[in-house]
Symmetry: C2
Subunit: 145 residues, 2 copies
DNA sequence: AGTTATTTCTAGTGATTTGATATGAATTGA
DNA sequence: TCAATTCATATCAAATCACTAGAAATAACT
């Protein structure tokens, strides 16, 4: 199906939620879970990935929670999706590190996958979390009379 | 991982093989399987999908095999991938028929997915089987001294 | 010091998909 | 008739997906 899984999609919404709500004080998983209507426990696992990568800062204990490490404009959608999805390349031979395809030179379809990969990268590496925030505020504006 | 599965990739190589080899006489699964180094039985299942959709014509019995129904330039890569992969939309809410997302209007990430979908479509709906054939002949040429 | 609210860690689980394999029936050319 | 081929269906192991469960570690507040 070539689909972005819930993991990547939830991670994006999670980061957007943090961008919108963690300005002053840390935000708890429970709040995000309630606002975004996503399983609490599943979110824990997803934010753990973001935490390990240093994309968010955690504060343990009571009154704890999470904060964005950097400014929204410093996160591209690609960073977040690649981290949670593992890779956003349409075929594994495009991941230079893993599985370097030996037939690459004479592989006909490689040229197609390269084109597709470039097209995907062009979107996900240029849209930032700040763009999502902006879009959100625009949309929200539509509902103000 | 957001990967095109073997099914879609094999279907593409299968169609390319037919484009190159079914000019005069039908081509058997066994030949393709040998040339492409793909499991015979798995190819049968994949070509069954292409056959049901009318993308290939089958001839049963001895000396039978498969032929392309149309000319290579009449197949886009998108047609073949969508048929075998089910869908090439990065998220299900972009498939108008199935799962029409009600939050679409106020869904922030929808705008992102739409951009991504457009970028993917722009590639797979404009590259044809004839392009793959051409690329193949170019590559093959590289090995002639 | 103790309680409470939170993150953090490890494990398990049912459903679905993937990438096949196996068996045999139906069809047709020689 | 028989050999070669497609066609149909069933089965299967492994991986992935989307969670769920339980408990330990940590820090703020009283």
């Amino acid at each position: 199906m070539v689909r972005v899984s819930t993991k990547g999609r939830y991670a994006l919404r999670l980061m957007l939620d943090l961008a919108l709500n963690s300005q002053e004080k840390p935000v708890q998983i429970r709040e995000i879970s309630a606002r975004q209507n996503i399983s609490n426990k599943y979110l824990e696992q997803i934010i753990a990935i973001l935490n390990k990568a240093g994309y968010v800062r955690s504060m343990r204990g009571s009154q704890g929670g999470y904060l964005l490490t950097y400014k929204p404009e410093e996160y591209t959608v690609g960073m977040i999706l690649r981290l949670t999805e593992g890779s956003m390349a349409p075929v594994s031979c495009l991941d230079t590190d893993e599985n370097p395809c030996l037939r690459q030179e004479d592989c006909v379809t490689f040229r197609l996958w390269k084109k597709l990969d470039d097209a995907i990268k062009d979107v996900i590496d240029h849209v930032t979390l700040a763009d999502l925030v902006e879009w959100h505020l625009q949309e929200a504006g539509n509902y103000v009379i």
